[in-house]
Subunit: 346 residues, 2 copies
């Protein structure tokens, strides 16, 4: 377990300042105190003073998503939720679940039996047993990236996919791209549906032609790219927008296998901004989902539900992160012209 | 100004219990304490103890919306915001503004000069000077029923219009209605656009035919109904869904002028659930926007922005309120059959 000294070293402040932050002293700023507390939560540091009220318990259920390592998609979502909840003295249990586990007991029964006041469900599939039960649950429940109709106790939080895809199309357009392909992720997913609709409406808003040969549905894994990218290249795509970063990694690789350079010959844009996306070759231009903020919003939204404020959905702003997997189409023309000129001279 | 005794009388509890609630005593429940505080805020009661920190100031700007009286749309939105903000010791200023006022000073300048940390903007029009400036404001700002693209400091909150309209169509459908008309409110409004899209997609989802003679765009006032309802009646509408309750009041009146009884001959559904909608003749079936919750969510969302959690939108659940302006179509057929039978017998 981390010590006070570890926290002090990480933040570059004195042990006594860390101690003040942990103990709620008045002579350090509120902002610094929050940073100390957030870091303590992140590093797994606990003291008696940080122990939670026995009767204030929340649960995060997680399925189909890796979260143990800092470079995995779920890690910061869980961390953000815990950081925000600990400030309000909630005890938070993280519980990975399987479809089989959901068959053992009804959701409401499990929650009541274990004394949880509310839950945050991350990574569930629409056909999961517990998801089906959420249509009528009485337990305040926040879903990451899933929506349940009409139940006042359930809320959907996520990133605004419409704004995210529009940011990507808008950026590609600003670079001169007109033949923009979209490699979507897994079917039967609300998020995939939203991103596809967003792509269609953003292309229309930019007066760009929609071409069915430039739209494909794969799965949210790198390997999926090889089944669809060749078709995009044959159809003259100059930019490929991907449903997540893993698909973008696969797309860059697939372009390379076809003898194309990213971004000189073709631009690639991801979605998520995984930690590894700044170290790919080339570093990936992508749409960032701020996972710490998603986790915190999951908590704040759950607090609203606990106060009987029935939020239907809370969507966060995505951000365009410009790196090196994208370049203007105009450059290529200039290069070609220059090359032509040079060869003429030669 | 209200006294402690007024609060006690309103809540039907003793003066000493009110006093305990106001002074944060430990021997009353947290729930009762909140009710006492909320009522004190509503009745305008203040004590020194309730005075706010001088440096914690928020502002609610309101335009194009009545809010002074309890039966007006804006009243509870403002009240909910204040109730939630006062719990966290914020001082809240309510400021009605005009387009002319917005020309006197830039939004950011006004906010900084007056020491406001953030604001909640209610009832603004998209073409207002301050709305245009919000694309690049640095001030945490929550908009009621308006959306600004891509600025991390601005958030949209409102009721989920898609779910609201779907609830109304779904209910009319469950009563046997197939010729459902939609009388929308003012054009150039994001909310009107959303409700129209929602109507189209909900009709499609229910496999009901869309007929251009059953869709019209008026304004959010009762008087607007007379220009559109006759067309709906001529086109065989059996139910009319309205963009707000005022339009529904006008629609009921217009049907009456055409010799039709609501709900026996035609069903009418509103949107908002204004306080007066339970005393109309007949009492109005409508889609409820919980305005206290909207106000509270406006505050909670603003807190998130102040904590640099960039929420794009927060939408609340609407609720279907079934009263007496709607009835099953099947009844009419039965009544007609019975009448026919009776007349045959006679």
């Amino acid at each position: 377990m981390a010590t006070i000294k570890d926290i002090a070293n990480r933040l570059g402040i004195s042990v006594s300042t860390v101690s003040k932050g942990l103990n709620g002293a008045n002579d350090i700023s509120e902002e610094l105190r929050q940073i100390v507390l957030d870091t303590a939560v992140e590093m797994g540091y606990t003291t008696k003073r940080m122990k939670k009220d026995a009767n204030k318990k929340l649960c995060v259920f997680i399925e189909n998503m890796d979260f143990e390592q800092p470079d995995q998609f779920g890690y910061e979502i869980i961390l953000g939720f815990k950081q925000a909840a600990y400030r309000d003295n909630w005890d938070v249990t993280i519980l990975p679940v399987t479809p089989a586990f959901q068959q053992t007991e009804r959701y409401d029964t499990y929650m009541l039996k274990n004394g949880f006041s509310g839950a945050f469900l991350v990574g569930f599939a629409l056909q999961d047993a517990w998801m089906l039960q959420l249509a009528s649950t009485n337990i305040p429940t926040v879903l990451f990236d899933n929506y349940i109709k009409q139940n006042l106790n359930v809320c959907y939080i996520g990133t605004d996919n419409f704004e995210g895809i529009d940011l990507a199309v808008d950026y590609a357009y600003s670079l001169g791209h007109k033949r923009i392909a979209f490699l979507n992720g897994s079917p039967n997913s609300m998020v995939s549906d939203q991103r596809l609709q967003a792509f269609i409406s953003s292309m229309k808003a930019h007066a760009l032609m929609l071409d069915k040969d430039l739209i494909a549905q794969g799965h949210y894994v790198a390997d999926s790219a090889k089944y669809h990218v060749p078709k995009f290249l044959a159809a003259g795509a100059t930019a490929i927008l991907c449903g997540n970063d893993l698909l973008a990694y696969g797309t860059i690789e697939e372009c390379r296998l076809h003898g194309l350079c990213v971004p000189e010959d073709i631009s690639v844009i991801g979605f998520d901004d995984l930690p590894s996306s700044c170290t790919t070759i080339p570093p990936l231009t992508t749409i960032r989902q701020d996972r710490i903020e998603l986790g915190k919003s999951g908590y704040y939204t759950l607090v609203s539900l606990l106060h009987h404020v029935s939020i239907s959905r809370t969507l966060l702003r995505p951000q365009l992160i410009i790196r090196e997997s994208t370049s203007p189409t105009i450059n290529k023309k200039i290069i070609k012209k220059i090359t032509k000129k040079e060869s003429t001279i030669l």
